[in-house]
Point group: C2
């Protein structure tokens, strides 16, 4: 991927300054949608399949996602890389801003409130969980439901409320 | 501005998930470019004037920028709103990611390193300075050069190094 400008913000924006890329990444991370079909049908925004295909390729080329080799008859599964794990603070900062400055569904606002209340320490814990889920890292502790599952439960509740025709 | 989806991340991405909007915002905030012409000619990425005009309108409509009424013969000046001030953690998170996962000019990397090393407290201080600069807030302290000036000095050094033809 071409890098046009000098600054780290600009360099990040080259890759992440795209609505669909951010939404896909957020869906992979928070809703554990890992397959093309799940990302396509689960998209609240109703992403078109050609846009989804294009953005998945771009995210793989940018080193943020990897596309697992599919066995016969199986669908390829996407995982986030360490660079992908480390986009979490960006997504959380976006969510905190959205919580303050935009309206939206209560369920997902509750999820974001949990993230905000947890502060940087919770974001670090979430990143550790993502490393277990996507990068085969060993879990640091195994007691109780994971943070991602707790956040995911709120997200599932919200998804069932959403209109079928976006 | 239409709000299509439920979650705070998605709602934020509707407004901020756009490369040019993020670059313009970053230029207003870190380089204090406040006029159309300055944003146009200062853009490292070589933004087209119609794109710049479009994104400025969108940022104003989204409540992130305000466009000051220009006196006779004067150019309109843009300021960030409180919602604009609070995009700083997003820009800083993007910059931290770019610092780790992308290459770039040393000067602007140094600037980002100062921001990262300062952590959330420095981001809060920067937001206070932005409120003074853009929202006529009273300064909390008046001793020494401001953080934004210190960061701006690094940015100016980097700008003089950049190629004239992007």
């Amino acid at each position: 991927m071409e890098q046009r400008s000098g600054g780290p913000i600009n360099a990040a924006v080259e890759v992440l300054g795209d609505r669909w890329s951010l939404l896909i990444l957020s869906d992979v991370i928070f809703n554990d949608r890992r397959h093309f079909r799940a990302l396509l049908t689960g998209s609240v925004e109703g992403i078109a399949s050609n846009i989804l295909a294009d953005r998945l390729v771009r995210l793989v080329e940018a080193g943020i996602l990897t596309r697992g080799t599919a066995a016969r008859g199986q669908r390829a599964r996407y995982s986030i890389t360490e660079a992908g794990v480390q986009t979490l603070p960006i997504l959380c900062a976006l969510g905190n801003w959205g919580l303050d400055w935009r309206s939206g569904s209560d369920e997902l606002r509750n999820r974001q409130q949990v993230i905000r209340d947890g502060g940087p320490a919770l974001v670090e814990d979430l990143m550790d969980e993502l490393r277990v889920r996507h990068l085969d890292a060993l879990p640091k502790s195994a007691d109780g439901p994971s943070l991602l599952e707790r956040l995911g439960a709120a997200s599932t509740a919200a998804a069932s409320d959403r209109p079928t025709d976006p």
